[in-house]
């Protein structure tokens, strides 16, 4: 019972149409495991926004997911440009996404605020020119 399940996903950089595959997969796995619908939805939304961010801003990267009895941990790592001002990036409506992203339905400046809203814990480590690591946890 105390087994931790580990999942690893590569997020491909330029295929916007495939963004969300990893989140969709995690969602269906959690559902099959009988995790509460509330927790499943929180994980799905938080991870999906993160996955979209990695495609829009950071040339992709990878996501590690760990499912334990207590919580679900998502670690999203990219080697993108980094976030210059996290506080500003956390403000709802603030975005650096180009116009072509807005025409795809994203870039409204709601990504990070939504990730914060739907996770029970979130931490961002970022370095300009090196990349960003976002850790999110959702309680069971």
């Amino acid at each position: 019972m105390s087994d931790t399940i580990k999942l690893h996903y590569n997020v491909s950089p330029d295929d916007f149409t495939r963004a969300g595959e990893a989140s969709g997969d995690v969602k269906s796995k959690l559902k099959k495991m009988g995790v509460s619908p509330e927790a499943v939805r929180k994980v799905a939304i938080a991870m999906y926004e993160g996955e979209i961010n990695m495609v829009i801003h950071a040339d992709g990267g990878y996501i590690d997911v760990e499912i334990s009895e207590e919580d679900i941990t998502m670690v999203l790592v990219d080697m993108g440009p980094g976030i210059a001002d996290i506080e500003q990036a956390m403000q709802a409506g603030w975005s650096t996404a180009p116009d072509n992203i807005r025409s795809l339905g994203f870039g409204a400046g709601m990504g990070l605020p939504n990730m914060k809203k739907y996770s029970d814990y979130m931490d961002i480590e970022t370095k300009i020119g090196v990349g960003t690591k976002v850790t999110m946890k959702v309680n069971m």
């Binding site: 916007f16 149409t17 495939r18 963004a19 969300g20 989140s23 969709g24 969602k27 619908p37 939805r41 799905a44 939304i45 999906y48 926004e49 979209i52 807005r102 795809l104 339905g105 994203f106 870039g107 409204a108 400046g109 709601m110 990504g111 605020p113 939504n114 809203k117």
Partner: protein, 116 residues
């Protein structure tokens, strides 16, 4: 209101998920910005959108949205329909524009959720 009621009210055509047309819909959301949709979590919603790309279906998947209505006669491609079919999401297309489509559903009792 059921998915089928929405189809009739909006003079829409069901493009996939015909088997689920008797499912109940409790709330609605009209937006082309998927992050705004993701900020709004309500049960058993219908999404009205003019954004016709796979991310509209992905967003519906993450949110457990019951049905997507593409406004202004937009037609999803085969890959979107396949994805929706797998996830048991009903997709329909209406010739109506966003504002009248939302207005008709509102007039017939559908609301945006507890926040409005």
């Amino acid at each position: 209101m059921t998915v089928n009621d929405i189809k009739n009210l909006l003079n829409a055509e069901i493009l996939c998920g015909e088997n689920f047309k008797d499912r109940e819909v409790h709330t609605a959301c009209g937006s082309d910005m998927m992050s705004d949709v993701l900020a709004f979590v309500k049960d058993q919603s219908v999404l009205l959108t003019g954004l016709c790309n796979p991310q509209a279906v992905r967003t519906a998947e993450m949110m457990d949205i019951v049905c997507i209505v593409f406004v202004r006669g937009k037609q999803p491609d085969e890959s979107m329909l396949e994805l929706a079919e797998e996830r048991e999401i009903v997709i329909m297309s209406t010739p109506m524009r966003m504002f009248p489509a939302c207005g008709i559903l509102y007039e017939n009792g559908l609301r945006g959720g507890v926040d409005n």
